[in-house]
Amino acid sequence: MIVNMVQALNQALAQEMERDPRVVLLGEDIGVDGGVFRVTEGLIQKFGGQRVMDTPLAESGIVGAAIGMASFGLRPVAEIQFMGFIYPAFNQIISHVARLRNRSRGRFTVPLVIRTPYGAGLRALEHHSESTEAFFCQIPGLTVVVPSTPYDAKGLLISSIRSEDPVIFLEPSRLYRAEKQDIPDGPYQVPLGEARVVREGKNATVLAWGAMVPVVQNAAELAEKTGVSVEILDLRTLSPLDEAAILKSVKKTGRALVAHEAPKTCGLGAELAAIIGEQALLNLEAPVLRITGQDITVPLPKSEDYYYLSPERVLRAVNKLMEF
């Protein structure tokens, strides 16, 4: 079936709810309204209000309640309406979601998925454009997942729901309806913790995820015209990282660029550069470079383009990497 990412996510939720009666959804406006991006459209009609719960407006309450539900034996999928509003729940995430397995030595666990749209490029309101995945990647016990295609969105969400560990599932809002893809009708899994080679190349590796993947793909096509062959790795799971795939690609090309829309300082690019530096230094022809959002608050639409990465900005960084 040819679907966009919203439809792919909706299929994943519907099919997992069909398969496993323990799967329940909770969040703001996810029931009758079908979610502000329509990811949960039609599910309350199919599964009823007890499995698709419209909650009061309370992010910490949603995640806190989901912890209790998960440890009681359900498989909750909580929606936080925008990543910009996840912070009231941060205490529940860092203090409990991520550590309950450890602090109860496995007696209680939190098989919970927290879905949330993130990222810039939609000319949105304030607080609707941030990309703060690095906060979550530093928390032991969490798995952080970001799809970039409808196919991966469905398969990764199904794997996340079936995971015994809590998953922060970041949905690039810019890609919700950007691309359509033919995906299998039935349920399938895309394994967590595995990166995907989007494009093979010889001269440089670009590491990206989420909404940056198509931007980097465009940049790679531009580079190809100048004779530079770019390999692209879509990390898909940001924590724990697929270090083996990253190192394999970088050792092959000898050059690495990280492209992310989060601010540069302490972004995931810093971690990736360090991993490559620690484990592949002698394979490198150039230092690992980062092309990222600026270390500023994501601007409102009139100046958003100063912040956001374009294929041309990525290409410029690829060229710098090649010229070193």
């Binding site: 329940v24 007890q50 499995r51 719960m53 909650t55 009061p56 309370a58 910490s60 309450g61 995640v63 806190g64 309640a65 989901a66 912890i67 209790g68 539900m69 998960a70 440890s71 009681f72 034996g73 359900l74 909750p76 009231p88 205490n91 529940q92 203090s95 409990h96 309950l100 397995r101 450890n102 602090r103 109860s104 030595r105 496995g106 007696r107 209680f108 666990t109 032991p140 016990g141 798995t143 995971s163 015994e164 560990d165 913790g193 724990p240 990282l241 270090e243 083996a244």
Partner: protein, 359 residues
């Protein structure tokens, strides 16, 4: 009792007064053996608590939050619980753990610095005690929601102090409970102090119990040093929860007789006169007087109960101290269901370091 109570009037429900006199019309129907057992649990809580303080001073146990003065709140809350019920306690809840039959050795083990002590036995649904204040409240509501969804007739008890009622999670949790009519029993031990912050700085509400009114379910204030009052309230609230009548909020008015933790010095912010006033309301003293009047207590009984409590505490210390320190694998293996490659790498690096440093 619960539904007829008006928390806005500022009354405090009491069955036993400070002199041990009982309101016969309200006296819960408890067998003699239960009454004696409740007393023994309160003594065991006090003795085990004092033991923990001693161990802390000797450097054998870490920073500890003492329960002195809370014996009636804790034992009274936990005693009417049933096997299938769930409990979300906080860091000052020794009596709840003991009443539920949690191994004291595990409780000590946790405060000695080993997470394994918070792994509840398989037959007990008690969460690891919450340290971030009020964070356990929405979690308890989630468990109660799940019980509703799975059609299990249980009660989910959540305890916290008066400081917790100022946190956002208190509001979010109780609001959810009201909206979804969850089978929750919220018990606030209003012990007048949150470290140095007095009750008057937590809220301008006349009572804490009255907050329940705004969430759309019953709230009542009970004398938290009267174990029969706490028991009766918790019993009725639990029965309400199990029969689909929704949540209940109980404010147990008590006093934190000790310091906040062993790292705190309460003399810095409260007067000896205030503490002395509350000493007169000791929950053990009044319950003892009540039992004596019923001929359920004498010096011999007291001696036996005290000796058993001391013996149990000593035994628990012995067991906890004989647990070897956790191997590195134990921590690395408890972070994810399956150890990811990066943790395998960090563990093997740590192992190498430990081997090298032993040489």
């Amino acid at each position: 009792m619960i539904e007829n109570f008006d928390p806005l009037k500022g009354e405090i429900f009491q069955i036993l007064d400070e002199g041990g006199r009982v309101r016969n019309d309200l006296e819960p129907r408890l067998a003699e053996g239960d009454l004696q057992r409740i007393y023994a649990l309160m003594v065991a809580t006090r003795v085990a608590d004092q033991k923990a303080l001693k161990l802390q001073r000797q450097g054998r146990l870490g920073t500890y939050a003492p329960s002195l003065g809370h014996e009636a709140c804790q034992v009274g809350t936990a005693y009417p619980l049933q096997k299938e019920d769930w409990v979300f306690p906080y860091f000052r809840d020794l009596g709840v753990y003991l009443t539920l039959g949690y191994p004291l050795s595990d409780y000590y083990l946790y405060w000695m610095g080993n997470e394994a002590g918070m792994r509840a036995p398989e037959n007990l649904n008690i969460f690891p005690l919450a340290i971030p204040v009020a964070s356990q409240i929405p979690q308890s509501v989630g468990a109660a929601l799940a019980a509703n969804i799975q059609k299990k007739n249980i009660a989910v008890v959540c305890t916290f102090g008066d400081g917790a009622t100022s946190e956002g999670d208190f509001h979010e949790g109780l609001n959810f409970a009201g909206v979804f009519r969850t089978p929750n029993v919220f018990v606030c031990y209003n012990n007048q102090w949150a470290i140095s912050t007095p009750r008057s700085r937590q809220t301008a509400s006349k009572t804490i119990a009255q907050k329940a009114v705004a969430y759309g379910f019953p709230g009542l204030a009970v004398d938290g040093n009267d174990v029969l009052a706490v028991y009766a309230a918790a019993k009725e609230a639990g029965d309400r929860a199990r029969s689909g009548k929704g949540p209940t909020f109980i404010e147990a008015v008590t006093y934190r007789m000790g310091h906040h933790t062993t790292s705190d010095d309460a003399s810095k912010y409260r007067t000896e006169i205030e503490v002395a006033e509350w000493e007169k309301k000791d929950p053990l003293v009044r319950f003892r007087l009540y039992l004596k009047a019923k001929a359920l207590w004498d010096d011999g009984f007291e001696k036996a109960v005290q000796e058993k409590a001391v013996e149990e505490a000593e035994k628990a210390v012995g067991i906890a101290e004989s647990v070897p320190p956790p191997a590195p694998e134990e921590i690395f293996n408890s972070t994810y269901k399956q150890r990811p490659p990066k943790l395998a790498g960090q563990l093997s690096d740590l192992d190498d370091f430990l081997k090298e440093s032993r040489k």
